[in-house]
C-alpha cells in the first residue's frame, strides 16, 4: 500500500473542518484521480501526504510509515520520496531549467556527475533536452509545466502527486502531460492527480476518488 488514509479528519485552527473521516487506500503502482469542487478538501489531502499539515484525527500512512509518528526533523526525508507537481509550476525564475530540475538532487546530496546524468534523463523524458540552459521565463506554459514534472521525477520517487497539472493548459497540452503521467505509472510509479478535467479523467479510465465538502463520495 502506497497511501492509506484511516478515518482522517483535519480541522484548521479557524474551526473549518476540511476533511471528515476520510478513509481510502492507494496501492503501490496505482494511478488515481482526486476530484471535487474547490474547497472539497483536495488540497488539504495533498498537504497531509507531504506533511505540510498534520491530521487532527486518524492515521495517514505513506509507504508503510505512519506520518503521525514522524518528527519535524525527519519531514525532509519523507518529502524526498514524493515528487510534487504544482498547478503554477513553482519554478525558480533566477535559475535555468537545468538548475531547477537539479535542485532535489543537490538537496539529497548527489554527486555532480550523477546530477548531470539524471537531470538530462529527466529532461529527455519530458522532451526538453534542448532547453536545459533556458530560463523558465522564456518557456511556454506547457514547457514550464514539463520542467516542473522533470523536477518532480528527477529523484525517481515512488510516489507522484500532482495538483491540477493541466489547469492552465489547452486540451492538446493537457493530453501530453497526462500521457507523461501514464508513462511514469507504467514503470511502477504511484500517481495521484487532483484534477477538474472530467473529460480527460473519464477517457483515461482510472480510479477516481471524489471528495465533497471534506467527505468521500
Amino acid at each position: 500500500m502506497m497511501i492509506l488514509f484511516d478515518n482522517v479528519s483535519k480541522r484548521y485552527p479557524s474551526g473549518k473542518e476540511a476533511l471528515s473521516d476520510v478513509s481510502f487506500g492507494i496501492q503501490t503502482g496505482e494511478m488515481a484521480f482526486l476530484t471535487g469542487h474547490s474547497g472539497a478538501g483536495k488540497s488539504t489531502l495533498m498537504k497531509l501526504v507531504i506533511l505540510l499539515e498534520r491530521a487532527t484525527k486518524g492515521q495517514v500512512v505513506i509507504q508503510d510509515i505512519n506520518l503521525n509518528r514522524i518528527a519535524a526533523k525527519h519531514i525532509p526525508v519523507i518529502r524526498r520520496n514524493i515528487g510534487v507537481i504544482f498547478q503554477n509550476h513553482q519554478l525558480l525564475f533566477d535559475r535555468n531549467v537545468f538548475e531547477n530540475v537539479a535542485l532535489p538532487l543537490y538537496i539529497a546530496g548527489f554527486q555532480h556527475r550523477e546530477v548531470g546524468r539524471r537531470v538530462r534523463a529527466a529532461l529527455s523524458k519530458v522532451g526538453l533536452t534542448r532547453k536545459e540552459k533556458a530560463y523558465p521565463i522564456s518557456l511556454s506554459g506547457g514547457e514550464q509545466q514539463r520542467v516542473g514534472i522533470a523536477r518532480a521525477v528527477v529523484n525517481r520517487p515512488p510516489l507522484l502527486l500532482a495538483d491540477e497539472p493541466t489547469g492552465n493548459l489547452d486540451p492538446a497540452l493537457s493530453e501530453e502531460v497526462m500521457n507523461l503521467f501514464l508513462q511514469f505509472n507504467q514503470v511502477g510509479v504511484t500517481v495521484l492527480i487532483a484534477s477538474h478535467n472530467q473529460e480527460l479523467i473519464s477517457r483515461l479510465n482510472k480510479r477516481e476518488i471524489r471528495l465533497h465538502e471534506g467527505r468521500l463520495l
Binding site: 505540510l52 518529502r79 504544482f86 513553482q90 538537496i107 546530496g109 548527489f110 554527486q111 550523477e114
Partner: protein, 317 residues
Amino acid sequence: MKTSGATTSGVSSGGRAWLRNHRNIAIGSLVDLLKNRITSLMTVMVLGIATGLPLLLYVVLINVLTVTENFDGDPRISIYMNKEAAEEDIESFLTIVEKHPNTAGFHYISPEEALLDFQLHSNFSDVLNSLSSNPFPAVVELIPRDTDSVKLRSQIIEMEKYQEVDMVVADLAWIERLFGFISLAKSIVILLGLMLGLGVLLILGNTVRLSIENRRSEIEVVKLVGGTDGFVRRPFLYLGFWYGVGGGISAWLLVHVCILFLSGPVELIAQSYRDDYALVGLTMIESLSFFALSSILGLLGSALAVRKHLRVSESLF
C-alpha cells in the same frame, strides 16, 4: 522509508556530501554578494564604519598607552631642602634617598648650580645680583621607580618627615588625571564597541532578512522537495559570515588609512617634544582576532535573522 536501489547510488556518504554542500554554498553566497556589487559594497561599508569606529578608538588608546609608557622618568619628585640644613645632613639625606627602594635615580642641584642655571636661562640676572644672598634652596630631583600613585604618595610622605626637607612637590594630580582619562577611554572603547556591535547585529539582521524575503519562494520550493532546515539556512549564514569578513576588512583598512593620515601631524608633535614617536597600528594577532570577531558577529547577526524569519508559510497549494 523504503528507498529503491537506484535512488541510493550516486549519493555520496553523508559527511562528504555535507562538506561539498558547505563548500558550494560558501562559494555561491560569495559569488551572489559580488554580483550585487553596489548594494553589497554599501552594506560592507556601513559595517566597516560601525566596527571601525571602536577599532580606531582602540588603536588611539594603544598609542596613548604606549606614549605614557615611554614617559621617560616622569613623574619626578622635587625635594626642596631646608635652607638651614647643614651640608653633611644633606649628604646623609642623599644616601637615604639613594637607598630608598622606590628610587630609580636622582639628581642633586646645589643652590649655586640653581643660581647659575637661573642666570643663564632667564633675564632676571640683574635682580639676582641685587640680592645679598642666594635665594635658591638645594633641590633633589628624584626619579621614582614605580609611578603608581599610591607608592608615589607614600614616598612623598616619607620624605617630608626628614628635618632637612622643606617641601616635597610632585605633580601627582595630572598623572592621576591622565590615568583616569585612560581608564575612562578604555571604558568608552568597550561601551562603544558593545553598542556598535549591537548595531552591526541589527544591520546584518535586516540585510539578511531582506535577502530571505527576496528568496522566499525559493525557500518554500527547497523545503517542499526535501531540503532540511539546515540546507535552507546555510546560504544565509554564509551571507552573514561574508558580510562580517567584508566589514572587518573595510574597518581594518579604514583604521589604517586614518593612521596614515594622522602619522604626519603626530610625528610633528613628537618632534617638538624631541621624541621620534611613530603611531602604532594593529599587530598581526590583533588584526586576525578582529577579523575573527567581525565574522563571528556577521554569523551571529544572520543566525538571529534566520531564526526569526525562516518560518515558511508553505502555502503552495
